[in-house]
Amino acid sequence: MPGITREEVAHLGRLSRLELKDEELDHFAGQLDEIIGAVARVSEVAGEDVPPTSHPLPLTNVMRPDVVRPSLTPQQALSGAPAQEQQRFKVPQILGEE
C-alpha cells in the first residue's frame, strides 16, 4: 500500500508554490513513499495504549512575563532580505494575472 501518491506530491508541491517537473514528481513520490513507509512501521509497534508523541519531555506551561526586550534594528532585520524598498521586505508579485 503506497504511503503517498504521485498526485498527492503534486498537490503538496502546488501548496508549497514549488514548480515540479514530471520526472521530479516521479522521483520525489518514490522517495517520500519510502520515508512514510519507514515512519509507518512505528505505528505497527505502538499499540492503542501508546499515544502519539508530539513532545518528548513532560513539560507544560513554559511561559515568559509580558516584558518588552529590544528588537533588531530595521537595518539588522532587513540585512538578509533579497530585496527591500521603503524599509520593507520586497517580495515578487503575489497574484498572477487571472
Binding site: N61, R64, D66, V68, S71, I94
Partner: protein
C-alpha cells in the same frame, strides 16, 4: 472582470429561506509584547523596527509563550461561559504567503484553550438572543502588506509587494460561534448585536481596546441559506475582514440577498472567500477557499503544552468584572431611562464617559445630557470616538458643578466646553480667560444696583420721571462695578424694578 451579482429583495429572500450564520471574530490583545517573542506591540513604530529572529522566522530561533496572552485568553473564555482546557497544544497552520515569514501561523487546531460557551446579546427591542460559542483559541497576527503598482493599492494588478513585520506575532484570540440558527429575518441585527456585545465584553475585561477602526477587532461572516422548513445547512460563503459594526449588519444582509438569488435561479452557491466593500455595502468574490486539510496542521513542537492550573482558572473567574449587559441593566435602572435610550448610549460609546462623570460628582441626568448632546455631536462631526475627545469626565463634571451652583447657565456652559475642547485648559481656566461666569447672585447684584442709584441721584430721578432710556447709564455703572461679569439684561430689569418703573 467586475461581475455584478444578482440580488433578490431581502423580504423575498426571507420568504423562501432560513439564514444560518457563523461569526469568527479576531481580537488583537493589548499585551505589551508579541505572543511568542519579546518584541513591542506599540502602534505607529517605523517599519520593521519591532521584529526579532523569532517573529521573522529565522533558523534556530525559538518561541516562548506570553503569560499575559494566555491569561487574557482564559479571561475571554470564562466571560463567554466556556470550559477551559485542562491541557492543550499550539499547532502550526502551514501556508505559503509572505505575510508570515515562517510559512506557518502558530495557532491552535483541535485543542482550543476555551470551548463550549455562549454569549447572551440584547437586541434593539430588549429581546435576549443566545449565541453559542464553539471555541476561543490563541494565535498570532500576520505582517502588513503594501501592494505596489496596482490601482489603489490592491493586490490585483500589483507588480510587487512590501512587507512590514511589526504586526507579525501580535497575540490574537479567535472567537468562533456555533452555527447561529433561528434568527430568521433578524439575522443581520443579531450579528451586529453579537459583535457589539463581544466588543463591550473585551473592553470590560481590559484585555484589548477592541477598536474596530484600528483593526484591533475584525469579523469574518459565514453565511448560508437553507429552504424554510429544512434541516440541512446550505453551502456557505465567508466574507472576510468586516471591520465595523454597521458593516457586519450590511454584509449579512447582502449575502442573504445574493445567496437567495443564486438559489432561486437554480444555481449552486460556491464555497468561497468574499471581500466586503465598505463603499457599496456589497461583497465580491475572492479566492476559492482551500480545504482545511491543505493547511496540514500539526502540533507545534517548539512550544510545550499549556495546562492551566484549576486554581489559577478559578482565581481568574472570581476576578471577572460585572458583565456589560448586566451592568447596562443596572445603570438603566439607576438612571431611570428606557431600553431605547440605553441602546443609544451604548451605540454612542457613552457608557464609560457618563459613569466616570457621575463618579466625579455630576448628577446622572446632567452627565448624560452633555455626553449624549453637545459632546456626541462634536465627536460625530470630528468622526472620532466619544472617549477620544480632548475633554475628561472630570472636566465635564466640573462644568456640571458650575451650572449647579449658578456660576454658569447652559449657554455659557456650552462655551466653556467649547473652550476645553479647543485646548484652553480646565473649565475654571476657560471661565477666567473668556470671562464667562455670570453674576447671578441676586444679593450681590442688588447691592451693586443700589450703589449705582445712590451714586447717581440725578439719573435715578430722570428714570423715575419716565426717561427709561437713561437707565443705560446706571447699567454701565453696575457693569463697571462687577467688572463685566453681570448679566446686563438682568441688571436693567433690577434697576427699573427698584425705581418702580415699567420697562
Amino acid at each position: 472582470m467586475t461581475v455584478t451579482d444578482e440580488l433578490v429583495s431581502y423580504e423575498d429572500a426571507l420568504e423562501s429561506y432560513d439564514p444560518v450564520m457563523g461569526l469568527e471574530v479576531h481580537v488583537e490583545l493589548g499585551t505589551k509584547t508579541k505572543m511568542f517573542c519579546c518584541c513591542s506591540t506599540s502602534l505607529g513604530a517605523e517599519p520593521n523596527s519591532q521584529t526579532c529572529p523569532t517573529c521573522l522566522g529565522l533558523p534556530g530561533s525559538l518561541p516562548v509563550v506570553n503569560a499575559t496572552g494566555v491569561e487574557s485568553a482564559i479571561k475571554i473564555g470564562l466571560a463567554l461561559n466556556c470550559e477551559i482546557a485542562e491541557w492543550c497544544r499550539f499547532a502550526r497552520k502551514n501556508y505559503f504567503y509572505p505575510d508570515m515569514p515562517k510559512n506557518f501561523q502558530t495557532s491552535q487546531y483541535d485543542e482550543p484553550i476555551a470551548f463550549n460557551g455562549y454569549l447572551d446579546v440584547a437586541l434593539e427591542d430588549g429581546e435576549i438572543f443566545r449565541v453559542e460559542i464553539e471555541r476561543a483559541h490563541m494565535e498570532e497576527d500576520t505582517g502588513k502588506s503594501t501592494h505596489i503598482g496596482g490601482a489603489t493599492g490592491r493586490i490585483h494588478g500589483a507588480s510587487h509587494s512590501l512587507l512590514d513585520y511589526n504586526r507579525a506575532g501580535i497575540p490574537l484570540i479567535e472567537i468562533v460561534t456555533k452555527p447561529i440558527v433561528g434568527a430568521g429575518a433578524r439575522a443581520p441585527e443579531v450579528a451586529k448585536a453579537y459583535v457589539t456585545e463581544l466588543r463591550e465584553l473585551i473592553r470590560a475585561l481590559g484585555v484589548s481596546e477592541a477598536r474596530m477602526e484600528m483593526g484591533q477587532m475584525r469579523c469574518d461572516v459565514n453565511l448560508s441559506l437553507r429552504p424554510n422548513g429544512t434541516e440541512t445547512f446550505g453551502t456557505r460563503s465567508e466574507t472576510k475582514n468586516v471591520n465595523s459594526l454597521r458593516s457586519v449588519e450590511r454584509a449579512v444582509r447582502f449575502e442573504i440577498q445574493r445567496h437567495a438569488a443564486v438559489l432561486d435561479s437554480g444555481g449552486t452557491v460556491v464555497q468561497e472567500t468574499r471581500h466586503f466593500n465598505e463603499d457599496t455595502g456589497s461583497t465580491t468574490s475572492g479566492r476559492i477557499k482551500e480545504e482545511a486539510e491543505d493547511y496540514r496542521y500539526f502540533p507545534e513542537p517548539d512550544l510545550v503544552p499549556i495546562a492551566p492550573e484549576r486554581a489559577w482558572v478559578e482565581e481568574l473567574r472570581a476576578a471577572l468584572p460585572e458583565l456589560p449587559r448586566v451592568r447596562r441593566q443596572r445603570l438603566k435602572a439607576e438612571w431611570g431611562i428606557s431600553d431605547h435610550e440605553m441602546q443609544s448610549v451604548l451605540n454612542a460609546g457613552a457608557i464609560d464617559p457618563i459613569v466616570a462623570t457621575i463618579d466625579a460628582g455630576a448628577p446622572a441626568d446632567q452627565a448624560r445630557k452633555w455626553w449624549m448632546g453637545e459632546l456626541a455631536r462634536r465627536a460625530n462631526e470630528d468622526d472620532v470616538e466619544l472617549s477620544a475627545l480632548p475633554i475628561t469626565p472630570e472636566q465635564v463634571a466640573r462644568v456640571c458643578a458650575l451650572v449647579a451652583e449658578g456660576s454658569l447657565n447652559d449657554k455659557l456652559a456650552r462655551q466653556v466646553i467649547e473652550g476645553v475642547l479647543a485646548g484652553e485648559g480646565d473649565p475654571d481656566q476657560v471661565v477666567d480667560k473668556r470671562g464667562l461666569a455670570v453674576v447671578s447672585d441676586e444679593g450681590a447684584l442688588g447691592a451693586a444696583v443700589d450703589e449705582a442709584i445712590a451714586a447717581n441721584p440725578g439719573v435715578a430721578d430722570k428714570i423715575r420721571g419716565g426717561k427709561v432710556a437713561a437707565a443705560g447709564a446706571l447699567v454701565g455703572a453696575v457693569m463697571k462695578a462687577t467688572r463685566g461679569q453681570a448679566d446686563a439684561a438682568r441688571v436693567r430689569e433690577l434697576i427699573l424694578e427698584k425705581l418702580g418703573v415699567q420697562g
